[in-house]
Subunit: 309 residues, 2 copies
């Protein structure tokens, strides 16, 4: 190995980093419980320490750069993060330049869902295509759009906010100000709130518990995944009608419920997309699991080098 | 002038063609009432005659090529048209190659709404940006997406079917098989059918008549444009959340009703797009009117030459 890259995934509770080869192989990996309450300097320090620890393993090889996936919007030019619920103290601060200075290595920031989409395109379920859309079904619903092999950013780095697509204009309210966002109908949080609305249990249930109840055949629990599938189907039909891409991927913590929501998802997509019915369009589970963001982040420096040639 | 291009717009009732300079100036223009019932050979003959008539005007100059905007999906590689309601006999026939052979000039086919979007980008309201979305509000609702200055085609040339975005999942049925498509809520046809539903008059009204009634303050007629604006607002909010592009344009026969639907459109976009509220995103009328498709079609050969260099 003569060249490697480092990907960092700054999640809600911990920080993961991996050294990745040109061929997309994870060479070495670390995870750090991050003291997010420690504030800006603590988190930046953790990132720098993690990267340095990985660098020491590969003293002879050239480091192509460091990609960092973070929740929130990325202002690419300025290297700023905005609207990051988990990392408010990193907002509107030159975080890229600060890390770059401490590490002496080029840093590329990317939104976490965008990084996951890029990871799936590089080494996962999207290997064979250049254009795909990824929906991440977790606490919320994130989106990443890959077009011509690259992340679609839009003018402010705010493209692919697909969790805020309006699915039901008079649906449940969303923190973004809208009503009936996809995220309020198809995320883990949505499943948990619907369980409460249906009085599935005396105390709040986790989405995992709702899933298990549905797998046992509980009809109310099944209704929740029916609604989730329908909402996803409407969203994906809209995406297919907009992009006519070959591939739409789903990932995230809700993926194990695939068999529960898929029939309803497929029914809606068939109903609502003429294009789906008449083309070879695939809707599939992503394959890299929670490594997708890490691998996508690590790909960013390689891609930047390739594109500059 | 040393080089020119010819754009052809094959509409529902007539065929228009124009010779256009490298600078985007229309040099000469013709319109032919086409005998669409004459079948394939008659329509192809009309196109060939129109192009030849324009060519004769510019004997000394180099013809860059001919771009043809047609309703329906374009299979770019094969040069086929599919799913064209107006021109069924041109479907699944090598129409590009047939015209190319007769003219001895390179031909580029493009969907009519895509051509209009490209025209607006080249010489119209989108001159200053590289990324935009156009919605054409006519008999139906068409869409065109320009990204990096080029038309987004998708894998089968079926991208930007934005008139079939689901706005209301239990809304009116659409010929595409879906319910609650944008096109069934925001086109001239939608306005006319809502007028009937509201019994605005004893006999069917044209969208123009409904517009005039609304301008006189008729409350039921105003409701129709309220619904149209709301549907467009939901659609454009989704597009903004997906693309984060700087510009969204509206064109077509319903554009004169802008002042009637705009307040409702804007209200919905503000409500449903965090991105709209926090960025410099413009939603505007297109400026080229029914010349947009012609100019965009004429731009296609120039763009193909530029991209090949």
């Amino acid at each position: 190995m003569t060249e490697f890259s480092i990907g960092v995934d700054l999640g809600g509770t911990n920080l993961r980093a991996a050294a990745v080869s040109r061929e997309g192989k994870i060479l070495e990996r670390i995870a750090v419980d991050t003291n997010f309450e420690g504030g800006r300097d603590a988190v930046i320090g953790d990132i720098v320490n993690g990267v340095n620890a990985l660098k020491r393993h590969f003293a002879g090889a050239r480091l192509a750069g460091v990609g960092i996936g973070v929740p929130g919007f990325i202002r690419l030019k300025e290297g700023f993060i905005t609207n990051s619920n988990n990392l408010p103290y990193l907002e509107n601060y030159p975080v890229r330049d600060a890390i770059e200075q401490k590490l002496g290595t080029p840093i590329i920031l990317e939104n976490d869902a965008n990084a996951a989409a890029l990871g799936e395109k590089w080494m996962g379920a999207g290997k064979d295509v250049d254009d795909l859309v990824l929906l991440t079904l977790g606490t919320g619903v994130g989106g990443g759009i890959i077009i011509g092999g690259r992340v679609l950013h839009g003018m402010d780095g705010m493209a692919a906010e697909l969790g805020h697509m309006t699915i039901d204009s008079s649906g449940p309210p969303c923190g973004c100000g809208n009503y009936g966002c996809l995220e309020k109908l198809a995320s883990a949080t949505a499943v948990e709130s619907l369980a409460m609305l249906l009085s599935l249990s005396a105390k709040p249930m986790t989405s995992r518990e709702v899933y298990e109840l549905a797998m046992e055949g509980n009809e109310k629990a099944l209704m929740i995944f029916t609604q989730m599938g329908r909402a996803l189907g409407i969203a994906i039909a809209n995406l297919i009608n907009t992009f006519n891409f070959p591939l739409y991927l789903l990932s995230g913590g809700m993926l194990p419920a695939w068999n529960l929501f898929w029939p309803h998802l497929e029914e809606q997509v068939k109903l609502r997309s003429f294009t789906y019915r008449n083309t070879k369009t695939a809707i599939k589970p992503a394959t890299l699991g929670n490594q997708a963001g890490l691998i996508g982040a690590a790909y960013l420096p390689f891609q930047a080098i390739d594109l500059s040639h």
